[in-house]
Symmetry: C3
Subunit: 101 residues, 3 copies
């Protein structure tokens, strides 16, 4: 069992914005990244100012999506750089992890 370094990435989006299809097509067709999974949150909010109501129920009109993927650190670096140019994603969080191959 050999350990391999990867970078885990979570990209935070919102259903109301049209970025997801574009992002998935890029990851699938162009970057050919492995291990992409999309999760839908049940509620959420972004940086201050985005939610003006204190009623939590109002957040559900624009459900958060997370696109998660991992790949070799140097590939992920390149993908993130590319994504920032193409899609202008604001919330891309990443950290080092390992997989066994």
């Amino acid at each position: 069992m050999k350990q391999t370094e990867v970078t885990m990435v979570r990209v935070y989006l919102h259903e109301a914005r049209a970025h997801m299809e574009e992002l998935l097509e890029y990851l699938h067709d162009d970057s050919k990244v492995r291990g992409v999974t999309v999760f839908r949150g049940i509620t959420g909010f972004g940086s201050s100012g985005e939610i003006h109501s204190s009623k939590l129920i109002d957040m559900s009109l624009d459900l958060p999506l997370v696109v998660e993927f991992f790949d070799a650190p140097e590939r992920v670096e390149e993908i993130i750089r590319e994504l920032n140019t193409k899609i202008k994603l604001r919330h891309v969080v990443y950290w080092p992890a390992k997989i066994n191959l």
Copy 2:
């Protein structure tokens, strides 16, 4: 593209307990943390003793929730300390990550 250190946090809750609204209100109104997302799991179980039946289907009556957020390390430390005092959360997992600003 400038890298910024953040701490990722995942707080594990259960629908049957009333902590989620309280936690979200704290994160939204008081701590003004950025990037909060809530996910509902389809099944799960806690530390040993919580599930007495071996039937996996029984777990679905109390679905797990994960409240995920990230912010600057020093802010997250303060938030976690505050959460432990206010809400007595038992499962708060956190790790260092990066975002590009």
Copy 3:
């Protein structure tokens, strides 16, 4: 508040394959791991070659599942070694994190 080192693990599966019940039973009954949560993704794709169509809608026929858990690093190492022998999971990603006890 005492910090404890844990290893976070995310195991990527597909609904179409029968591994999830086996994995959960192992984690619950044999390894008695704490903090297991299962999430269902809304779409996703694996390593190159698994999805032959470029139509994103086709991916939804086999929804991705993620089984997430954490425990002490030495226990997780043992569990991952065991899982690789028993279930032959291909995508097990893990990284160091902390909890407060």
